[in-house]
């Protein structure tokens, strides 16, 4: 009987958890998209410039890759208000996730640019392309494809790591779960359900990204060998 009651309970709380899942998706998407926008210039600066700007970009990437996301989140949400920079929970969550993700993504892109052979650029220049055009039409399209597997990992990674914003109480999936637990004291069913949702979502994302990689695959630019397990 308790089993059936638990199932009914799990069905009843599903809408509330799904509301949380929507927030998880919002944060993931926002962080990834704004992350790319910052990651590309950071990667280019690190790859093609010398001097202070390069040092700044390198420091940014190393700091954000060298410290835990949760600590970054606490600095943004609890620390920055002391400098007069106050965020609401959602914005703080986005800011930390985005800065963190951009640092990792810039590394993927930088690695991918490095993997495009020098000859490609030389051939483009020999045809009379200006450096920017050669980069735009020859190097970048190949680099983005080579970065795709790492980027797929980043998507799944982000969905999972959005859960840490529970610790500042932004209302994503895991936070919703915790709120239901503290309200109903039914630990096992809620955790099981939250876990099940994560498994379904992450497996689905992996499938989708596999499809995207397949869709954009080009003979000779196969990237499956570069896939890192997340």
């Amino acid at each position: 009987m308790t089993f059936v009651r638990d199932l009914v309970f799990m069905w009843e709380i599903l809408p509330e958890l799904l509301k949380g899942l929507v927030v998880t998706f919002q944060l993931t998407t926002l962080a990834l998209v704004t992350g790319v926008i910052l990651a590309v210039p950071v990667a280019l600066v690190r790859k093609y410039t010398r001097g202070p700007l390069n040092w700044l970009a390198t420091a940014y990437v190393e700091i954000f890759r060298g410290t835990p996301l949760l600590v970054q989140l606490f600095v943004v949400y609890y620390g920055l208000p002391e400098l007069g920079i106050v965020f609401d929970r959602f914005t703080a969550a986005w800011a930390a996730l985005f800065l963190n993700s951009a640092a990792y993504q810039s590394e993927y892109i930088r690695g991918a640019i490095g993997a495009v052979s020098e000859g490609q650029l030389i051939a483009a220049r020999a045809l009379g392309m200006k450096p920017l055009a050669a980069f735009r039409w020859v190097v970048m399209p190949q680099a983005l494809r080579l970065a795709l597997p790492a980027w797929s990992n980043e998507v799944a990674y982000m969905v999972k790591y959005v859960s840490v914003v529970y610790l500042i109480g932004a209302m994503e999936l895991f936070t919703r779960g915790q709120i239901i637990i503290s309200r109903t004291l039914k630990v096992v069913p809620v955790l099981l359900e939250v876990a099940a949702i994560y498994i379904i979502v992450v497996v689905a994302i992996t499938r989708v990204m596999d499809y995207v990689e397949h869709r954009f695959s080009i003979p000779g630019l196969e990237t499956s060998g570069m896939r890192r397990e997340f």
């Binding site: 060298g66 606490f74 609890y78 959005v162 994560y198 890192r228 397990e229």
Partner: protein, 214 residues
């Protein structure tokens, strides 16, 4: 600045806990990750499926969720287990799954020739795995493994959520006591940064030292 130094001094001792949790989880991960990887490649169909399932499920869960699952389970099953032990179990369970993938990839990249050669010399399957496959796979796995080690180090901060008094928890203590947050968390970040930096250096050196020459 004074306060920042005070924070550093207050937080730093907890580095011991962070390192302990990290190293213990990683050790669990190496042991069970290798077992899982071998089971997935050389095991019987049922064993393979179970190993694959464990890996897929755990890699789909956020580490934070794993920590809470372990926390609630252990609170009822092993009352009195310390938060430190819980952290090690949870993070160890997570990294086992990721490491099993790393080792699996390494073993598969060796190709079947190594196994064939070992068997042709009269070694048993177990001996071949133990003396030929695993020593090579471990070396091939070092770069990916260093990455994983850094991730576990950083993920150990999540254990603060269930009361493990590691670096971040310690920072929360001093920050809350003084109502002064930014320097405390920056000090915490600085210590983490040094730890990941050191980890990367050590493992880079290990990779150079043990690189497989072919």
């Amino acid at each position: 600045m004074d306060y920042f130094i005070r924070c550093l001094k207050f937080i730093l001792p907890a580095a011991e806990v962070t390192i302990l949790v990290t190293v213990a989880s990683l050790a669990l991960g190496v042991l069970f990750g290798l077992l899982l990887a071998v089971a997935r490649i050389y095991g019987r169909p049922g064993v393979r499926l179970a190993a694959a399932l464990y890996s897929r499920v755990v890699r789909s869960l956020p580490s934070l969720v794993m920590i809470f699952i372990v926390f609630f389970t252990m609170v009822s099953v092993v009352p009195g287990a310390s938060p430190l032990v819980m952290a090690v179990v949870a993070l160890g369970a997570c990294t086992t799954a990721y490491q099993s993938e790393i080792f699996r990839g390494a073993i598969q990249s060796l190709g079947s020739g190594q196994m064939l050669a070992a068997r042709s010399l009269g070694m048993s399957r177990a001996a071949a795995i133990r003396f030929v496959i695993i020593p090579q796979a471990l070396r091939l796995a070092i770069p990916a493994w260093s990455n994983e080690a850094a991730i576990v180090l950083k993920d150990s901060s999540l254990a603060s959520a269930v009361g493990t008094v590691e670096l971040l928890r310690r920072s929360q203590h001093i920050a809350a006591a003084n109502h002064h947050y930014l320097p405390a968390y920056l000090a915490c970040a600085l210590i983490y940064f040094c730890l990941t930096f050191l980890t990367n250096r050590v493992l880079d050196a290990a990779e150079k030292r043990f690189r497989l020459r072919t």
